[in-house]
Structure formats: structure tokens, C-alpha cells
Chain length 334, copies 2
């Protein structure tokens, strides 16, 4: 079968959450080299919360992300580096710096109902000659009609690809199919899907996305990412091969970088634990997990109760402060 999609690897960006933003240049360089060798076309390097994310609110990076982007770019013969930018966290200057460091693609991420904050960043991306992507986070929280409306905004700003992003690892395949199909029918951009494995459905959701017409799908090596992690890149390669697709990626080579480079530096395995399951179950932003565990410990409350409460409140990315408020409230039983 002809190549119908690109696998975009996010180990070095979504994985930053799981690493508590402690990536070193050496780790990034070796991972980048392995991805490039295996045949990956694009991979992402940034703080977990995107360019400029290094802060008290989101966690400080051990190494400046521009150095990491540079380290990654410098070892690639064909793979291109993407960066994530969440307007409000990252600013235009950050993007200009990232391009100097070697970035070739920008994914501008907004909450699923807030694409309108992304116009100037998409524009700038175009001016800088980047491949530009609109990245709709927490896509489970909006109706299909709403997602189409927001995608049209991204399209009008000049985005070439629009992502459906299951930030909470909440979605099930029929929900993915419905959203991707609606986008395919209503916008002319290419469509992407980014999944999390909190309900053990990331791989099935990714298959559903491709079958519905997605041409960009995200994965991470050993699933390294927020919550229970992402769709596992090397598993995607094996499964899509079995399904008869040409992924352009060599299975043994991608396994080598996953197991020989990434696995040794992981701080913990990407299992589905009680808390990451509750993230998916309640529809809570996956990058809330480690903050919630800190808050649970500080206030001596059940972290699952914090997550269930955040789900009820429909908390979204950027509202990390709420985590501690909820924990405190539960501790005081008010």
C-alpha cells in the first residue's frame, strides 16, 4: 500500500512531562539520531507545555529547550524538528529563536474552543517558512460541529494540518472516527491525531484515525508522555505494517532507539496506574498528573478524588492552579 500517513514522534516533547522536563542534550541527541536513522520524517522537541513552558507554573527545564532543539537538528540527515507552541505560554520571539535553532514545523496548540488565539502564531510560522499545524487540545470536550468551526478558523489563518488531540486519553474509536471524518469533509487541510493511553485505547484510536483519513499520527517511544503516555511509536510501526500500510519506518531500527536509548533514561515505566486511568475516565488533561500527585501528597488526600473533581469542573490546560485549590478543599472537606 502507498504511504498514506506520517508518524510524528513526540518523545522529546510530550515525554518532557514524564521526565519532569529534565532532558539533557545527550539524551535528545541520541534519540534524534535514532529517529532519523529509523526513517521518521518529523519529531517534536520542546518543553512539555511547548516553547516558553519552563516556569514555576509548568516546571522548569533542566536544559534550555533551544539547546535541545539545536542538538536534535544537528544530528538529523533527513528528519525535521517540530516545536509546540501554546499561545500565552510561548510567544512569537520563542518561535523565531526555535527556527534559528533548527525547527522546521510549528504546531500551535489551543484549547479546542479557542483557535482564535492562534492566528498571529500561524501567520508567523508561515512567514518563517515553517510547516504550520493547528493543534486542537482536549478534543473530547467539544461537539463535532464545534471542532469543524474551530478547524475552519485554523484553516483561515493558513494552517496546513489540523490535529484532533485527545489530551485526556478519554476518547474511544467511534468518537475519533466521527471527528476526523467531519474534518475531512469540511476542511481541505490534512488532518492529524494525537492520542494518550490512559484508557488503553491509544493504538485503537490511532487506527480509527487513519481509517477515517488522518494523514499525520503522533506517537512516542516506549509511550513516554503525559498521563499513561502516548500511542507507542514502535508499536504503531508494527501494527500498521500488519495492516498493510507502508510507514516508511524500519521496525528493528525504531525498536532499537526505543529500547536502547529511551528506556534506559525513563524515570518510570508508562503503566496505566490508578491515577492515569482516572485521568482518562474523568476526561482530565494528561499533563495534570504529576502536579496532582504532588498536591495529593501535600494535602494528604486521594489523588483520584482530585482528578474526579477536576473532571467535573471541566478544568483545562492553563488551569493548573486549580489542582492545588481542589486538593486543599478536599483536605478541609468543604
Amino acid at each position: 500500500m502507498n504511504r498514506s500517513f506520517e508518524i510524528l514522534d513526540v518523545t522529546l516533547r510530550d515525554g518532557s512531562h514524564a521526565m519532569r522536563h529534565s532532558f539533557t542534550e545527550k539524551q535528545v541527541e541520541e534519540t534524534a539520531r535514532g529517529l532519523d536513522k529509523a526513517g521518521v520524517s518529523y519529531f517534536e522537541v520542546s518543553h512539555g507545555d511547548g516553547l516558553g513552558g519552563s516556569s514555576l507554573q509548568y516546571g522548569f527545564s533542566k536544559v534550555n529547550e533551544l539547546k535541545l532543539i539545536e542538538a536534535a537538528s544537528s544530528v538529523c540527515s533527513r528528519a525535521k524538528v517540530s516545536v509546540l507552541l501554546i499561545p500565552g505560554i510561548g510567544i512569537k520571539d520563542d518561535l523565531q529563536d526555535a527556527v534559528k535553532a533548527g525547527a522546521k514545523m510549528v504546531r500551535v496548540a489551543t484549547h479546542v474552543t479557542e483557535a482564535d488565539v492562534a492566528a498571529q502564531h500561524i501567520n508567523l510560522g508561515r512567514e518563517l517558512g515553517l510547516k504550520t499545524v493547528g493543534f486542537l487540545m482536549m478534543a473530547h470536550m467539544a461537539s463535532t460541529a464545534k471542532i469543524v468551526e474551530q478547524a475552519k478558523l485554523f484553516e483561515s489563518y493558513g494552517a496546513e494540518i489540523i490535529y484532533v488531540t485527545d489530551s485526556a486519553g478519554y476518547m474511544l474509536p467511534n468518537e475519533v472516527t466521527e471527528r476526523i471524518k467531519a474534518l475531512k469533509e469540511n476542511v481541505s487541510c490534512e488532518i492529524g491525531f494525537h492520542g494518550h493511553n490512559n484508557l488503553s485505547m491509544a493504538m485503537a484510536n490511532t487506527i480509527a484515525a487513519v481509517e477515517a483519513g488522518a494523514s499525520y499520527i503522533d506517537g512516542s517511544l516506549r509511550a513516554l508522555g503525559a498521563g499513561s503516555g502516548n500511542t507507542q511509536t514502535e508499536v504503531m510501526v508494527g501494527v500498521f505494517e500488519r495492516l498493510g500500510y507502508n510507514t516508511g519506518i524500519n521496525l528493528y531500527d525504531i525498536l532499537d532507539v526505543a529500547n536502547d536509548v529511551v528506556a534506559p533514561f525513563m524515570q518510570r515505566p508508562q503503566e496505566i496506574t490508578g491515577s492515569s486511568l482516572i485521568l482518562g475516565y474523568s476526561g482530565v488533561y494528561s499533563s495534570f498528573l504529576l502536579h496532582t500527585q504532588s498536591a495529593a501528597q501535600k494535602f494528604n488526600v486521594d489523588e483520584r478524588d482530585i482528578l474526579v473533581e477536576l473532571g467535573k469542573m471541566k478544568a483545562i490546560g492553563g488551569q493548573e492552579d486549580l489542582i492545588f485549590d481542589v486538593a486543599q478543599r478536599l483536605a478541609l472537606n468543604v
Copy 2:
């Protein structure tokens, strides 16, 4: 929604593989108590390869499985203990002893084309007053017609439930749907599904099974089992709740036994590593994994190459000797 299926937990049987058959009475007792409290109706306790599996070929059990069955039964107020029996490994005496120790269900497991070896064991199960199950392993290796034929044999012997068992973690949802539907149409027994997560598809396959009419589905806590482990019991509870099914199991209680009892005694996390992925990719019996790793080390060859070769040879359970033969052959490059 009314309860339409039972979740049968196999932590204390399939998990025996991942524990290298080292379960202690205390581990079994605490896990059993947790499963019973959470509302699980059936759970399985035996050597990973079933009654009588403790041997040089399959690995010796640290504690006699009859003691483990007794320990599990003794703490249950409502949950019932199942045992696995593979004819040829286990014998009739083993089943009689298991019943004395408290077993209430027997699952007689055969390769998917060999149900005919199970007649006397199913008969004995009926005589002993057990719930009897025919367990068709490596179900991906047979056509739907063949599976129906074999299921009819099990039905004729008196089995009340027939399982489609994805021992290699190879199947994809459409393949599960096709098999379960065919069985629902052609036999009057209840139908079950047992999945492995080598391709990260166990949960999706399990949903497909239920939607196609399966009324027994297997899971294990923290996915503890052969290969990359089983469908994760506590995730099943969360996902099926989200889908509107009544599982009869309390989510927090099942999370507690998974995380507070099982996680601490696990020897390693149930990740999808290179080798377990290749199991699923090549369609190799999941319990071959640890043997293959030993053989790879002994002969200094790539364990993935051994698994790919075993897949090509269509090796099945009981042919564990082949693993070392293949490793030796690869080492000698013949």
C-alpha cells in the same frame, strides 16, 4: 444497562508467567481478598501453564498450586476460583485435587485445532459439579470455520462457555468480532474472550468481543500476564463504565488491589518492549517470551530474530523445546 458479561480475572494464573511461577500464599491471599471485595465473580489460580505445569519444561512453582488455590478460596465470600487445565500438562487427578482445594470452574485449554483432546476433562469437570469452559488458544491461527467446528466439539462434550483466546496478542478488533459473531451464531454456549496486549490492542479487542456478544472477558490486574500482559482488569472496569455497561465491580476497590497489592510484588512492569511487540507481530505464544530471553542470552543472538523465526514455523504451546533449537541454529548461522 443490565449486566451482560462477567469479568474473569487471571492475575493469579496468567500472571504466574510474569512472576516466573513464584507466587506466595500471602500474595495470592491478599489478591484474592481484594478481588472478592471489589465484586469479581470468578478469578483463576494455577501455574501459568495450568494445573500440573510446575516442571522443568514450564518452570517450577515456588509454592504448590493446590496450596495457592486453597489460600485463595479460603478468603472469598462470594468470588469463585477457576483453574486452567491443558490436557497433557495437567491430568484428571490434578483436577480432582483442585476441586478439593476449592476450585469451582475449570477451563480446559487446547490449541485451537485440538479440542478433541479435551473430552474427558470436560466430562470430569461436569461430574465434579464445576462450571466448565473450553478454551481455544492461539485462535488467530485458525479460520472462523475451523473455530466453529472446534467449538462444536467442546459443546458436544458439555462445555458451558467457549473462549476465543488470543494467546499471541496478535489479533485486531475486526478479527475478534468475526470469530465471536460466528460462534454466537453457531453454538449455544456462552462465549468468552481472552486477550494479550502485545500490540496494545487488548482493550479494544475486548470491547469488540463484548459488542459481538461475548459474555465472559478476561483481565488481569496491572495487566500482569505472559508477553506484554493481558487486558488490564481495572481499565476494563473504567472503560466499560464509560460505555454504559454495569460491570458489577467497584472501580476504586479494584484499583486498590491492583495498585496496593499487585503492583508492589510485580517483578517488572508490563510494558510493550521490543520482544513482546514482536510476539504479537509474529503471532507467537505469549508465554514463550521469558524462555526466549533466556535462550537469546545463552546463545548470544537477537531475541527478536528467534521470535520471528518461531512465528514463521507456526510454533505452538507445548513446543517450548523449539525455542532453544532455533536460538542454537541462529547462533551457528545454519
